[in-house]
Symmetry: none
Subunit: 195 residues, 4 copies
DNA sequence: TATGAATGAGACTTCATTCAT
DNA sequence: CATGAATGAAGTCTCATTCAT
């Protein structure tokens, strides 16, 4: 093993954290179990992360980055604001369907943390809202999206609808196919923001 | 002791639970502190509630009942589906603005519980969706609300939008006036469900 | 067992703490072992003491009180300042000889604590210096004790000499009889403070 | 690497140990921090020292050597026992005043170690008592120092008085000038040992 | 029914020491 | 010799729950 910090090991720990937290919830997920799943000693976790809170935050950053990078890639091929929003809704939803464990982590468990963590998560979420905001601004400038309502409320509406449907799907044991709902979600959102 | 007194004590405990959980979060709210605030001994809590989880569930039922009763009262004076939805949005939002502590409990702390608790919460939430569902069904029958989209998705959209805006308000330290946003929220929702 | 805090149990814990700390030293004395010796559960210690530091402080107060009460009792029968100082030297030394475990606790282990604890110990020690100071002041007023040197330096000299000889005795495995040295100690001290 | 460089590294580690232990205390001083301050890797410390305890002992030896060498140098110019004792009191006190960090190390932190360490410290301290003992013996032979009291008790009295006053000064945040007290200390000691 | 002292499992975290590089 | 990532035992402390009174 190299004597320099091993990014593969860090990644293993994050994966284990996402797995265990998804199953047990943040407060019930123990460092002991995360270490066992990651295949490292308990102490090793503290070589890579300051404490349990830091592990949670960095796990979240890691997961969100994965989603956003995928979305950004797909957006490059689109220029129409409505198409771009459809991409976001579609990719966001498909990602969750393909990664139900991460969906549980993001939709349920992450919200089981302390206020200080939630605030940090809110900061990290700004990347998401930034992408959305730019698309909406462009749509308003091009006269395609209504300008009579605060852009942030529209952003919240889009994210809130998608988020709640995913949460609901996670809580319902993922019985339905989530991807089947994409068209409906998009249709509703579209009606709400057209000018 | 009389049965009357028992209910009063139970109620005191629930109020204390809501208060403490709002401030500290579910996992950090200790039975010891809830007992102290309620003015009873720790052991007494276990006379009225099976365990900490049971106390949380019954506290949530209690709070949701209060909100729904208020909404039901107001709905009696309305017959138009759109007006009814406006009542729901308005009352829901106003209640949170008037009771920021309970808002914190519902929007943030309640979500810091275990999966089993969240499932139970979902069950209790059905009362809310039932009210919403009946209004929507009536609207569809009267040709006022679009019928091309699953009624549950519309329900989620309405609740999701309101819920997210309240959550966002709670997390932002309640700086803005929440009630100022009601008209905008209603406007967006209306566009989305009109036929 | 009574449902009110049990002072016998508190006393048992203090005794166990003195025993274990004497043997292992403050930092190596574990709460687990103290609890085992005291015959209580680990958690019980935290019913009576805020934390490990608090347990140490209150153990020290307890031991010092025992010594000072004994000294105060004996002092009542004396009026001459020199006789009083002899009483202090004698009782202090005899107590340590009779309680070698406590001697070790006071002379060695107590000093293995954090700066904050040492500061608190210094405060508690003021009771000791107060008794000494009053005797010296009286002796100066009566012209029996030299007035050309700061009274606190004389106090330190008396306590320092006694203290160091006891410490030395503790560290030397208590081979000599400590009480045999009392006369010599007193003689030296007397020469130093006579006017 | 040359042997010269080894001694420099060993010296750096000892200096770092004294610094860190002075600030944090023995049990709270971590090998990690000592290594960082010394500018070496943690593992390197174990090339030069058997373990943490060994590092402490050898740091103490090092510091005491520095003091004693200084005292021995100054003693060469004196032949009178009283003058020699004055030199010891003066140099000991001045050294501490000039090196408050080392004073803290010797007076406070060193005493926060285990019994086994304290025993070794006692052995090393014999060098100090040896110097003192020879002066006192000479004084007794020349009829200048009282012969009715055990020489070791006088030695303890001298060291104990100086030691306690320094400890007291260290604990009082070094507000007063320590050197101002030298004359008083010497005066008290002298009265006690004159024949 | 009400009490609250007692419990003890289990949580997070630290850190001296090792050993492969 | 030097390195520093990895280890894992051990530590302190919390807290939901129980049960004798």
């Amino acid at each position: 093993m190299s004597k320099y910090k091993d990014f593969e090991k860090e990644s293993k720990i994050i994966q284990a954290a996402v797995t265990v937290i998804s199953e047990k919830g943040y407060f019930k997920a123990s460092i002991t179990e995360i270490a066992k799943i990651a295949g490292v000693a308990e102490g090793t976790i503290y070589t890579y992360f300051k404490n349990k809170e830091d592990l949670l935050i960095r796990s979240f950053e890691n997961v969100l980055d994965t989603i956003l990078n995928k979305i950004r890639d797909e957006l490059l091929c689109q220029s129409d604001p409505f198409s771009k929003i459809k991409i976001i809704v579609t990719e966001h939803t498909l990602f969750m369907e393909k990664n139900p464990q991460i969906a549980n982590f993001l939709q349920i468990q992450l919200r089981q943390s302390s206020l200080s963590i939630r605030q940090k998560i809110k900061d990290i979420m700004k990347s998401y809202y930034k992408i959305l905001g730019e698309i909406l601004k462009d749509g308003i400038n091009r006269g395609m999206i209504r300008s009579d309502v605060d852009i942030r409320i529209i952003g919240h509406m889009i994210f809130g609808t998608v988020d709640l449907i995913i949460t609901s799907w996670v809580l319902s044991d993922k019985k339905d196919k989530l991807s089947d709902k994409i068209d409906n979600i998009y249709k509703v959102i579209l009606s709400a923001l057209k000018s």
